[in-house]
């Protein structure tokens, strides 16, 4: 009899533990997928754009069936990062005359940093993003990511005016997510081996840009 009580108590503990684990793990799994797919998107682009580390999705419309709740008034650019190999330098020409923002997301989904046109009086964005393991060596002005992996999302407010769209397109093409050459080479080898092992089905991509 006593043994049964122990088993039932253990089952209750197990149920609670798995409930908590599901709630804890779900956002991390979703973010992990976004970061992994985003990294693949950037590398799958042709030529020079792939080298910038930045993915430029097509303008948002109803044919976009991959991204849930997209904002049709924004043009996006994305950059998936991994700071385990060192810091990332984020640069962009910030002269776009309308609303724009660069938001940084930790692998826990937290939006830990956002800069926009109002917070950036100069004509350029140039910031260094460093991982939690290097937080002690942060220089003034560095942005510290709470997690080593994460995601950058550039939003540019557009409308139907072709001139506005062209200006937004030109601006997002100046965005760079760069590591030093040595770091990039080491990481690329790593990514290639990972990608050849895990054949991800692209048809299941479902990412939300709100």
């Amino acid at each position: 009899m006593n043994r049964w009580r122990i088993h039932i108590a253990a089952a209750v503990v197990l149920a609670i533990a798995f409930h908590a684990l599901t709630v804890w793990a779900l956002p991390r799994l979703i973010m992990d997928r976004i970061i992994t797919l985003g990294s693949g998107d950037a590398q799958d682009q042709s030529g020079a754009q792939a080298a910038t580390g930045v993915y430029l999705p097509p303008p948002t419309d109803h044919t976009q069936r991959r991204i849930v709740m997209p904002n049709p008034d924004l043009l996006y650019a994305t950059c998936a990062y991994d700071l385990r190999d060192g810091p990332l330098r984020i640069r962009m020409a910030a002269s776009y005359p309308r609303y724009w923002s660069i938001a940084l997301y930790a692998s826990t989904t937290d939006n830990f940093s956002v800069v926009n046109d109002r917070k950036t009086p100069g004509q350029r964005i140039d910031l260094r993003l460093i991982g939690p393991q290097a937080a002690n060596s942060a220089a003034p002005g560095d942005v510290i990511s709470p997690t080593a992996r994460g995601f950058l999302l550039l939003r540019l407010l557009v409308n139907n005016d072709p001139a506005v769209r062209a200006a937004a397109e030109a601006t997002r093409r100046t965005l760079r997510c760069e590591r030093s050459k040595a770091q990039a080479e080491a990481a690329d080898t790593d990514v290639r081996s990972k990608r050849s092992h895990g054949a991800d089905s692209k048809s299941t991509k479902r990412i939300s840009f709100s």
């Binding site: 089952a11 409930h19 979703i30 939006n111 956002v114 709100s210």
Partner: protein, 196 residues
């Protein structure tokens, strides 16, 4: 003895299913917590580092990569002012004053969280496209047909049958509404005409 082991194993497997299943139901069936303004609800912890585990999981499922409330407030609804579920096959009138923000928009989504197909690429109405009357108020129609065939600028087309989700975005909201998002004079949503 063997039967006993089987029962114990089943008990533990059932416990795991119960744990995962209860979490999934709790996250997907229980509405997101937030503050109401009219028919709309805004979650104040979207994207926030202060979000609790349940909020974080719900945001990840429904609105991952949202901006923090200091940058953007997202008001969403699936119901009209009468509390009736919004439907893509019905026509609704949305009226109100431009929300106090640097830029705002109202966007229509299907039950699947995607934009409705339309050849004119018309998905939202906001700061730049809303037509204001002499009192400074806007009015727009969301539904399969415009309210006015000759002037359909203030119309967001829907398609098919099923659920309809509306999102009201306030980019760089004014400090007062940022402090107290429930104080927003939210746009009214009323059913216009008969539903098929």
């Amino acid at each position: 003895m063997r039967r006993q082991r089987l029962i114990i194993a089943s008990l533990y497997i059932a416990a795991i299913f119960l744990g995962v299943g209860s979490a999934w139901l709790w996250l997907t069936r229980v509405g997101i917590a937030g503050v109401d303004a009219g028919a709309w609800r805004v979650n104040l912890l979207a994207g926030s580092q202060n979000a609790d585990a349940y909020t974080r999981a719900r945001i990840a499922l429904g609105a991952v990569l949202a901006l923090d409330r200091s940058e953007t407030l997202y008001y969403t609804t699936q119901r009209d002012d009468q509390g009736e579920p919004l439907r893509a096959e019905c026509r609704y009138k949305i009226e109100g004053s431009p929300p106090p923000a640097r830029w705002w928009s109202i966007t229509a989504y299907g039950q699947d969280h995607f934009l409705f197909p339309n050849t004119e690429r018309r998905y939202s109405v906001g700061t730049e496209s809303a037509q204001l009357d002499s009192a400074g108020r806007f009015s727009l129609t969301i539904g399969p047909l415009p309210a006015n065939e000759r002037d359909n600028r203030a119309w967001i087309p829907t398609a098919g049958k099923g659920g309809l989700r509306l999102t009201l975005r306030l980019y760089n909201p004014d400090p007062a509404v940022q402090q107290s998002p429930g104080s927003l004079a939210a746009p009214a949503i009323t059913l216009s005409g008969n539903c098929p």
